[in-house]
C-alpha cells in the first residue's frame, strides 16, 4: 500500500513538471529555450500572424497614399488644412512602417499579441483619419461653393436691380433670392466650420470625442448638401422669375 502511494506521488510530480512550460506561457514570459505548446503544436502560427499584420499595414498604407494624393490634388482645400492632413498621413505612414518592422522582428506570440492590435489602435486609419479627411474635403468644397453661390446671388441681384430700374416688378425674383441667400448662410454656419472642428482629431480621441464629433460633422455636411441644392434651385427660380417678368 505504501509502495502504491509512493508511485502515485511520483507520477503526480512528473505530471506537474510537464506542465511547467504551459504555466510559463500563461504568465506571458517569452522563453526561447522553452517554446510554448502553441508554438510547438502550431509552428506556422507566428508566421501567419506576421503575414496578416503585414497585409493589414500594407492596406492602410495604400489607403493613406490614396487620401494623401486626393488631398494634394484638391483645388478647394485650404492650404492650412492640406498641410495639416498631409502631416497626419506622413506621421501615420512612418509609424505604421516602424510598427511593421517591430512585428516582423517579434519572435513570440506574446509579442505579437501586444504589437498587432496597435495597427488599429495607434492610428485609427479607418475610424478617424479617413472620415475626418473626407469631412475636411467636403467642408472646404462647400466653403468654395458658398463663394460661388454668393457670386451667383450677386449677379442675380444685379439683374433684378437692372430690371427694376427699367420698371419691372421683381418681387418674386427677390423672394427667391432671399431664400437662396438664407440657404447660403445656413451652409456657411453649418457645414463650412466642420473642417476646423474635426481636423485636430487623432487616434487618441477614439472613441470619444472623435466618434461623436465625426458623426455630427457628417450630419452637418449632409445638411449642407441639401442647403446648397436648395440655394441653387432658388437662384434658378429667381432667374426664371426675372425672365418671365421682362417677357424674355
Amino acid at each position: 500500500m505504501k509502495r502504491t502511494r509512493k508511485l502515485l506521488v511520483m507520477a503526480l510530480a512528473i505530471a506537474m513538471l510537464g506542465l511547467v512550460p504551459q504555466v510559463a506561457f500563461a504568465q506571458g514570459v517569452p522563453d526561447r529555450d522553452h517554446p510554448t505548446v502553441e508554438e510547438v503544436e502550431h509552428p506556422h502560427s507566428i508566421g501567419e500572424a506576421k503575414k496578416r499584420a503585414a497585409a493589414a499595414i500594407a492596406k492602410r498604407l495604400v489607403a493613406l497614399g490614396r487620401i494623401d494624393a486626393r488631398v494634394k490634388t484638391s483645388s478647394h482645400i485650404t492650404g492650412a488644412h492640406k498641410d495639416r492632413l498631409i502631416g497626419d498621413y506622413a506621421t501615420a505612414r512612418a509609424g505604421l512602417s516602424a510598427l511593421g518592422r517591430q512585428i516582423q522582428d517579434a519572435e513570440t506570440q506574446e509579442e505579437l499579441r501586444e504589437l498587432i492590435p496597435l495597427i488599429a489602435t495607434d492610428y485609427r486609419v479607418y475610424l478617424v483619419i479617413l472620415p475626418k479627411s473626407h469631412e475636411v474635403l467636403a467642408s472646404d468644397r462647400m466653403a468654395d461653393g458658398v463663394v460661388r453661390l454668393t457670386g451667383a446671388a450677386d449677379a442675380v441681384l444685379a439683374a433684378i436691380e437692372r430690371a427694376e430700374g427699367a420698371g419691372f416688378n421683381m418681387e418674386e425674383a427677390r423672394e427667391f433670392l432671399r431664400v437662396a441667400r438664407s440657404e447660403i448662410d445656413a451652409v456657411s454656419n453649418g457645414a463650412v466650420p466642420v473642417a476646423d472642428q474635426v481636423i485636430g482629431l487623432s487616434a487618441a480621441d477614439w472613441e470619444e470625442p472623435a466618434k461623436s464629433m465625426l458623426e455630427a460633422g457628417k450630419a452637418a455636411l449632409e445638411q449642407g448638401r441639401r442647403d446648397i441644392h436648395e440655394a441653387v434651385d432658388a437662384l434658378k427660380s429667381a432667374h426664371r422669375a426675372i425672365k418671365e417678368a421682362v417677357g424674355d
Binding site: 486609419v125 467636403a138 457670386g151 437662384l235
Partner: protein, 159 residues
C-alpha cells in the same frame, strides 16, 4: 323770300366747316395744325390715370404718356409754341422744354426696357447657373465618399 337761299347756304357752309373741324380734331389729333390750338389745349389735358407716379416713371406704360406728348408731332420746339401743352408742366418755354426732355427720357426708358430685356436675356447668368450644377455634382461626390469612409472601418475595431 329772295334772300333766304344765301342765308341757308351760309349757315350750311358754317355747319359743314364746324363738322369738319370737330371730326378732324377728334379723329386724328396729329393732323391738327397750329391753327387749331384751342382743340389742342383740350387734347393735351393730362389723363391723370395714365400719368405715371415717380415709381412708375420708367415703366413700360410710359409709352402712353410719350404718345400723348407726341401730339406736337415729335418736335419739342413746336411743343413750346403750343399754349395748350402748358397743362403738362410749367407755362414757360423752359418748363415746356423740360417737359419735352422728360418726354424724350420716357421714350428712352421704353427703349431701355427693350434693351434691358435683351440684357436680362441673361447670357451672363446662364453659364453661372450651369456652373452651379457642376458644383452640386462635386459636392454629391464628396458626400458619397464621406459616406463610404464611414461604412469602411476595415477592422480598426476588431484587430
Amino acid at each position: 323770300m329772295f334772300k333766304e337761299p344765301p342765308l341757308t347756304a351760309t349757315t350750311a357752309l358754317l355747319v359743314a366747316v364746324g363738322i369738319v373741324l370737330v371730326a378732324g380734331c377728334s379723329a386724328s389729333p396729329t393732323g391738327v395744325t397750329t391753327t387749331s390750338t384751342e382743340h389742342l389745349s383740350e387734347l393735351a389735358q393730362p389723363d391723370t390715370s395714365e400719368f405715371p407716379t415717380s415709381a412708375q416713371e420708367a415703366a413700360p406704360t410710359r409709352k402712353s404718356v410719350a404718345g400723348g406728348i407726341g401730339l406736337d408731332g415729335g418736335s419739342a420746339d413746336t411743343a413750346t409754341t403750343m399754349p395748350g401743352m402748358s397743362t403738362l408742366g410749367g407755362g414757360t418755354a423752359l418748363e415746356q422744354r423740360e417737359d419735352a426732355e422728360d418726354a424724350g427720357d420716357a421714350a428712352t426708358d421704353v427703349d431701355l426696357t427693350a434693351v434691358a430685356g435683351a440684357e436680362l436675356d441673361l447670357p451672363d447668368l446662364e453659364p453661372l447657373l450651369a456652373d452651379l450644377d457642376g458644383l452640386l455634382g462635386d459636392i454629391d461626390g464628396e458626400i458619397n465618399d464621406l459616406d463610404h469612409s464611414f461604412d469602411n472601418d476595415e477592422g480598426d475595431v476588431e484587430e
